[in-house]
């Protein structure tokens, strides 16, 4: 069965610091992988997505993610965070023959000034 695990419920970093939010997935083949962000009182916004090709994928607002088949991971990274990046980040997947999105439980990112 497919699953998405985000092991860190909450991550706190200082403004200007680098960031990595972890995501592990479980699926027998390579799924389509996504990172979404949810700001307070807003819906989900797509940051980036991956299926094949270069394992490092660039997204909006200088976010990028690296896919690792051997580790079944799709970690989100940013070189320098801003206070406005504070939000909840969701890793998610879909796969062939299914278009429902399966979400992880999210990681609350708090950026301290």
């Amino acid at each position: 069965a497919q699953s998405v695990t985000q092991p860190d419920a909450r991550v706190t970093v200082s403004e200007g610091a680098s960031l990595q939010l972890r995501c592990k997935y479980s699926y027998s083949a390579t799924p389509y992988l996504f990172w979404y962000v949810q700001y307070p009182r807003q819906g989900l916004q797509l940051l980036l997505k991956y299926y094949s090709g270069d394992p490092v994928v660039q997204g909006v607002n200088s976010f990028e993610a690296e896919f690792s088949k051997s580790n079944s991971s799709f970690h989100l990274q940013k070189a320098s965070v801003h206070w406005s990046d504070s939000a909840v980040y969701f890793c998610a997947l879909t796969w062939n023959s299914n278009n429902r999105i399966f979400f992880g439980d999210g990681t609350q990112l708090v950026v301290k000034p």
Binding site: G43, Q45, N96
Partner: protein, 115 residues
């Protein structure tokens, strides 16, 4: 940025009451999804449509939930008899093709509180 419109933003109902929420998908997006996000950030897929036709729905949706996407009108999700456990954020998303690789664009959600 997404142009999916959801109304109302907040909905308060008593147990047993009907709760109805609406969604206008992005222009040119014939595929509409409904998800439920609970307070623990757990998402549950409810139903999806292509134009006016139901593609998939879960068992929960079949019993107390009803949804439709009529032509030239907003899509809607209605809970016939609300229960406390239905309190959640209901998210509508739309996409161009409904394919598994296609991006789903989400609205801001309707937050339902069942007292």
């Amino acid at each position: 940025n997404s142009k999916v419109i959801q109304t109302p933003r907040y909905l308060v109902k008593g147990q047993g009451q009907k709760a109805k929420m609406r969604c206008i998908p992005e222009k040119g997006h014939p595929v509409v999804f409904w998800y439920q996000q609970n307070k623990n950030n757990e998402f549950k897929f409810l139903i999806n449509f292509q134009n006016q036709e139901v593609l998939q729905q879960i068992d929960m949706t079949e019993k107390r939930f009803s949804a439709e996407c009529p032509s030239n009108s907003p899509c809607s999700l209605e809970i016939q008899s609300s229960e406390a456990g239905d309190s959640a954020l209901y998210l509508c998303a739309s996409s161009k093709t409904g394919g598994h690789q296609d991006t789903q664009y989400f609205g801001p959600g309707t937050r339902l509180l069942v007292l």
